[in-house]
Amino acid sequence: MSELGIVYALLGAALAALLAGAGSAYGVAVAGQAASGVVTEDPSKFAKVLILQLLPGTQGIYGLLVAFIALSKVGLLGGNVADLDVTTGLLILVACLPIGIVGLISARQQGKTSVAAIGIVAKKPEEFGKAMLFPAMVETYAILALLISILAVSSIPV
């Protein structure tokens, strides 16, 4: 049953990109809606609210990153697919989970925080630095998850 190993590995990579990406899509979308409202009132705030909108977008990139490391680890990108046993495949799957799940949840929540921060910019544009900090706080946990995923994926022997 050694074919299943690569399936699990691919599943892990897919989950990392998929969950984190979906979360980011949601987060960027809600923040974008709030940002559009601000820009209709005052187009000069475009650059500031754009930055705030983009903040929940990083989880998707982190997911992509882990997925890519996992794919290149098992050789799916280069064409020389490694012969994985089931255990290794499952290990990679599990290693991908932190960024997938934390990415999904943190991106959604960060999106909501961004919406609130966009509210700050709408009323007090001079407080942009502080407004940016609140969503960035949420991101910390995505970064920690990313770190564990990267460390785990890259230290699994193939």
């Binding site: 930055i51 983009l54 903040l55 977008g57 990083t58 990139i61 982190y62 992509l64 990153l65 890519f68 490391i69 990108l77 407080e127 942009f128 630095g129 502080k130 940016m132 900090l133 960035a136 706080m137 991101e139 910390t140 970064i143 920690l144 990313l146 770190l147 990267i150 460390l151 890259s154 230290s155």
Partner: protein, 673 residues
């Protein structure tokens, strides 16, 4: 690295010099007005609201006129025009004679009036177009619409719901009013919702007929023109045409004012400045013959202000240092490198009372950490070059914009250096291109090591940088306490913590958990090991005993100490937070290599090269943008949360001098600062 020392200047002068002194102060722009005296029977404030309102109205009109000009005679603005800054003009041009100013104000009125007329004409056209439209169904009627009939006949015009044929109409009439003597129905036009009909009947029967048709939903036209509809339509169209011509003419006229744009800008700024002056005038207490003006100025320019005023006017000028309870506005002064991060500092908060200016220390860490997070030599070079070119090309851009660009320029250099150390040049673009197109293996070796190949090592370094950053914060706190001569506080809140943390670190280094992370077992001499243990325990006991020293109650004191000791988890999470240096650095490199790989997928052919270049340009532009954003946000976070959390509160009020606050032009002035 300093918050500029402020002094309070108070001037008492004669009212006849009021205008001159205020203008002089405003031109110098060195003093923030902060009234000291309250109103009493001798000194009172005058209400300048009216004059101010008038000036502000002119400013608003001028700005509106500029918007209108921009609409009809657009001035091409490049993408980067926001960086151009204000135009510098000579002082005599700014202080032009009042006749010329009046002329420009008249011009502004003309422009806004014309714009208003255009709007009115446009509304009129809309109305006429509606009328034309409502005539459309009646166009084939060849009698005026208000024609009522002949001596013995009557004409009814109107619409019936639904499209009906002539037969249906006659049948309907016969059904509703069977005893009519005569009836003649014409369908003028019909669409799917209604039939427009003309009904001729005997005058004596008109009411009966109308009633009959009304039962079927007959409605008279909303407006009856006194002309044949086709003619009326021609008339309306003629009117619309005339209005359009008028609008066009007015637009041309407005366009011809385009050259006066600069004059209007000047006027806008002139009155903006005057409104400011009147605002200050309304704040200062005045007696019958004198007035008092007071405010803050940086100590080093005070002599210049003093000299200027003592020489030219009869006045009393009083200079005092800032009192203990007084909170002076904050103006920072740093060298060119460090001042570039002042904007970041200001967005957190300027130094509050008694705090030192952390800008210098922060600027080094900022640039260092930013580069570490982005860490790609090519991106760094592009950032550096881009910012340098912009700064060179737009020498008159706003001061804060210049500082920000300079900050990114320095960050670019740092990124370049880190990129070389870690071997990232557009990720692995060189290696991929060499392999795909030239079938050779070229890699630019990293000067230090490649984080992706050795992430654990990078993690250890990230945390090491973190510890250095945090300890610096702790030292800053100690420095501030020593400066305030709070030696006991310094020993308890800084010294003991330092002792304990250093002890803990020494205990951690030889442990297995550290060895597994660092992938190397480090053994320290036994002396150091036991020193570490003693330091950690001693520090912990010290904190336990001393943190709650303000409390008299022993139990409460120990409880407070224990609670403070719990902060050691805060230190742990602070240090772990620096793992983002690794994560973001990897993100840049990995996404860059994803892009390179995607670009190389088509293979080695002419088409492949084109695809590679396209993917390369768009991909790396995207990656750069998203990672610069990430590095910026997270560098700020590390500064604000981890670093400032150790010693800095902020909350100072920025120095806002009474000056020429212009929007469009800068007036050439002698500089004093």
């Amino acid at each position: 690295m300093a918050v500029l020392q402020m002094q309070r200047i108070s001037i008492c002068a004669l009212k006849k010099d009021r205008k001159a002194i205020l203008e002089q102060l405003q031109n110098m722009g060195l003093m923030e007005i902060a009234p000291v005296l309250d109103e009493d029977s001798d000194f009172q404030r005058t209400d300048t609201g009216n004059a101010r309102g008038r000036f502000e109205k002119i400013v608003a009109n001028a700005d509106q006129a500029l918007d209108i000009l921009q609409m009809y005679a657009p001035q091409k603005k490049s993408f980067l025009s926001g960086l151009e800054g204000k135009t510098l003009i000579e002082k005599n041009l700014y202080e032009q004679d009042s006749e010329r100013r009046d002329a420009v104000i008249r011009l502004i009125h003309q422009i806004t009036e014309k714009n208003k007329e255009i709007a009115e004409h446009k509304a009129e056209i809309l109305k006429l177009e509606n009328q034309t439209e409502s005539l459309a169904p009646w166009l084939s009627l060849d009698i005026p619409m208000n024609f009522h009939g002949t001596n013995s006949t009557a004409l009814l015009l109107g619409s019936m719901p639904d499209s009906m044929t002539l037969e249906q109409l006659y049948a309907f009439a016969a059904e509703q009013a069977p005893d009519l003597e005569a009836l003649d129905i014409h369908i003028i036009s019909a669409d799917k919702d209604a039939s427009y009909i003309a009904v001729l009947c005997l005058k004596k029967e008109v009411e009966k007929v109308e009633e009959a048709f009304r039962a079927g939903g007959f409605a008279k036209p909303s407006q009856a023109v006194t002309m044949v509809p086709a003619k009326a339509k021609e008339n309306l169209e003629e009117q619309i045409k005339q209005l359009n011509q008028k609008i066009k003419k007015m637009e041309e006229e407005i366009k011809s004012f385009g050259e006066s744009r600069e004059d209007i800008r000047l006027i806008s700024d002139y009155f903006r400045v005057r409104a400011d002056k009147y605002e200050v005038l309304g704040e200062i207490p005045q007696s019958q013959k004198t007035f008092v003006i007071s405010g803050y100025a940086p100590a080093k320019v005070v002599p210049a202000i003093e000299k200027e005023f003592r020489e030219n006017y009869d006045l009393v000028l009083d200079i005092v240092d800032i009192q203990e309870e007084e909170e002076a506005p904050v103006l920072l002064h740093n060298n060119q490198f460090s001042e570039s991060v002042e904007g970041v500092l200001a967005s957190y908060g300027l130094p509050g009372k008694g705090e030192i200016d952390p800008t210098t220390v922060m600027s080094f860490f900022y640039v260092f950490l930013f580069g570490l997070m982005l860490s790609d030599a090519a991106y760094g070079f592009l950032m550096f070059a881009g910012c340098a070119v912009l700064i060179k090309k737009f020498p008159r851009m706003g001061n804060s914009m210049k500082k920000s660009l300079r900050m990114f320029m320095y960050c670019g250099i740092s990124t370049l250096v880190w990129g070389i150390l870690f071997g990232g040049y557009f990720g692995d673009a060189v290696a991929v291109a060499a392999e795909t197109f030239f079938y050779t293996e070229i890699t630019i070796p990293a000067l230090w090591f490649v984080p992706l190949d050795d992430p654990m090592r990078m993690l250890v370094y990230s945390m090491l940088f973190g510890v250095i950053h945090l300890f610096t914060g702790l030292f800053m706190k100690g420095y501030m306490l020593i400066k305030d001569k709070k030696y006991l506080d310094c020993f308890c809140d800084v010294g003991l913590w330092l002792l304990m943390l250093v002890g803990l670190i020494i205990m951690l280094i030889p442990s297995d958990i550290f060895a597994s992370i660092a992938q190397a077992k480090i053994t320290l001499p036994a002396v150091i090991n036991s020193f570490g243990k003693c330091a950690a325990i001693g520090g912990a006991i010290g904190i336990l005993l001393m943190s709650g020293r303000t409390s008299k109650n022993i139990a409460a004191r120990l409880a407070l100490g224990a609670y403070d000791l719990y902060n050691v988890t805060g230190w742990l999470s602070d240090v772990l937070s620096y793992s983002r240096l690794l994560a973001l650095g990897l993100a840049t490199g990995v996404i860059a290599s994803v892009i390179n790989q995607m670009g190389s997928m088509v293979g080695s052919s002419v088409f492949g090269v084109i695809v590679f270049i396209a993917v390369f340009i768009f991909g790396h532009a995207f990656n750069m943008a998203i990672n610069i954003l990430g590095a910026y946000v997270h560098t700020n976070r590390l500064q604000f949360v981890e670093f400032f959390g150790k010693f800095y509160e902020g909350g100072g009020k920025a120095f806002r001098p009474f000056q020429l606050n212009t929007k469009y032009v800068d007036v050439k002035e002698e500089t004093y600062l």
